[in-house]
Amino acid sequence: MMQYSEKTMEYFKSMKNMGRMENPDGMGKVGNPTCGDVMWIYIKVENNIIVDCKFETFGCVAAIATSSLATDLVKGKTLEEALEVTNKRIVEVLGGLPKAKLHCSLLAEDGVKAAIDDYRSKQKK
């Protein structure tokens, strides 16, 4: 069915940054209403910089690849920079996604945002 790019396959295969993180500084839990898939993003933050980022995903191959890529992209970035990692950028890096799978990359963008929001709201407390 789906024609995934090589890059997508690489990220899916490597599953870089996958797994849970103990005691994260921020955590985003997002779900996709279209397909019922779920993504959790964990971040560790030091001096406003994301020093570590991990993910857990129940979802399709695109969801797994984009979560892996997104965590990779935001690592080492400031929170502000990380918020600029849009789904457009993700799709770009992957070299495109099948049309029906574009929504999966949105999940990754939303996950990172949710994790940063979570971190910030915790900081405020």
Binding site: M1, F12, C35, F55, F58, C60
Partner: protein
């Protein structure tokens, strides 16, 4: 491409070398149009009729009851639309089930939007239609009942003889989609008592692009394809001679194999071995479909907490071909309508993999799956939020991950 471990025979089958050998001369040598007057064309015509006889014999039907179509989809469309149109003055109620192939479902849906009323019968957790429910659904204006013989995704075999009896008593046409049964169980239209039955070439080691509608003598049917006088005015279009010859041969081979009874036993052995070994090696799996009333070649299995696509891709890296849900519905994001109909929740339905064995499957295929699949499942579960939180989630909202649907999950080894 490296070595292939092809376990998707419910999606399509490799053409049998004998079938190809039978077909091959009809492209460049005996290429005549059967409608021609001259001997060269008449030879094609005769060969088409010989193939028709082979198909008829395979089904225990008369050659005149065989209509060649472009595939299983067309056979289903023709049966339902053709009979609906022919009987439209009599009534406009059609009964089918929630687990039909899309060729039947979407045909019914189309009719549903064009003046017919459709009843979709529910099925139980195994995918079985309850004859009592069918009986209760029949109305005065019911004209067609269409129930598949065996389901392509989970392999459950319906009690067609019993269901057709009910239809006959109510004087309602009975159609069955036997695309997945052909070659796997003996087909006898007389014994079954059906009025119409669909076959597809490429599921029985024949070519793609050819199918059959069996139409019992006297059954009313309007043509769907209009044009020349082909197929006794029931299906216009120049005969697909090579494919028809191939299908005839495929039916002959299937008939022989079923009579010998060795092939299906061997296939069942492979399927059972894979099922048993997977259930022994991987935790939290559920086998779908009926434990016994199930196609011998089909294993539909759920690996909880992860999605099927990832598993498929991991297997694909190693040359294993299997499918999640039906091949025809991939491309859509919705989970299989069949798995939803047997009561699986959305997320679980996304977690299924179908292995379907065939004539060319070997022990090596099972070995390979057992080598590749368990670590892939483990890997994917490692990144699933549901896996890590399964104890918690089970407590919190049982809706998603109880074992309610694990009808014959882990404990099934003894089957």
């Amino acid at each position: 491409m490296g070595k292939l471990y092809y376990l998707d025979n419910n999606a399509t089958t490799q053409v049998d070398p004998e079938v190809f050998k039978a077909m091959a001369p009809y492209y460049m040598e005996n290429f005549g149009n059967p409608s021609g007057v001259y001997s060269f064309a008449q030879k094609a015509k005769q060969d088409v009729e010989a193939a028709r006889a082979q198909v008829a014999e395979f089904l225990n039907a008369a050659p005149s009851e065989i209509i060649f179509t472009s595939g299983g989809t067309e056979a289903d469309n023709l049966a339902i639309k053709g009979a609906a149109h022919a009987l439209k003055e009599k009534g406009r109620h059609i009964i089918t089930t929630a687990i039909e192939h899309h060729a039947v479902l979407n045909t019914c849906e189309f009719l549903g939007k064009n003046g017919w009323e459709i009843t979709y019968l529910p099925v139980d957790e195994y995918g079985l239609v309850n004859p009592e429910i069918l009986k209760a659904a029949i109305r005065k204006d019911t004209v067609i009942i269409s129930i598949m013989y065996a389901n392509n995704e989970i392999g459950t075999i319906e009690p067609i003889k019993e269901l057709a009896d009910i239809a006959r008593e109510a004087k309602v046409y009975f159609h069955t989609d036997a695309v997945q049964v052909a070659g796997k169980i003996k087909l006898d239209v007389k014994e079954l008592g059906v009025d119409m039955l669909s076959l597809s070439g490429h599921k029985i080691y024949g070519p793609k692009g050819i199918g059959v509608l069996y139409l019992k003598k006297g059954t009313r049917l309007s043509a769907m394809m209009h044009g020349g006088h082909h197929e006794n005015n029931r299906r216009a279009g120049t005969e697909n001679v090579p494919a028809i010859i191939g299908l005839g041969k495929a039916c002959e081979l299937a008939k022989k194999a079923l009579e010998e009874g060795v092939e299906e036993k061997r296939i069942k052995g492979l399927r059972d071995r894979l099922e048993k070994e997977l259930l022994g090696k991987v935790t939290e799996v559920v086998v779908n479909g009926h434990p016994v009333k199930r196609l011998d070649n089909t294993l539909n299995i759920i690996f909880k907490y992860i999605e099927g696509e990832g598993i498929l891709i991991h297997m694909d890296f190693e040359g294993i071909c299997a499918s999640s849900g039906s091949a025809c519905t991939s491309g859509s994001l919705d989970p299989s309508h069949v798995l939803l109909a047997i009561g699986l929740p959305h997320e679980i339905a996304h977690s299924s993999i179908r292995f379907s064995f065939g004539r060319f499957s070997t022990e090596a295929d099972v070995d390979k799956v057992m080598e590749v699949l368990p670590p892939a499942v483990e890997k994917l579960r490692m990144l699933s939020p549901f896996w890590h939180n399964r104890d918690e989630m089970l407590k919190k909202d049982g809706a998603c991950y109880t074992d309610e649907h694990g009808h014959h999950g882990h404990e099934k080894d003894e089957e």
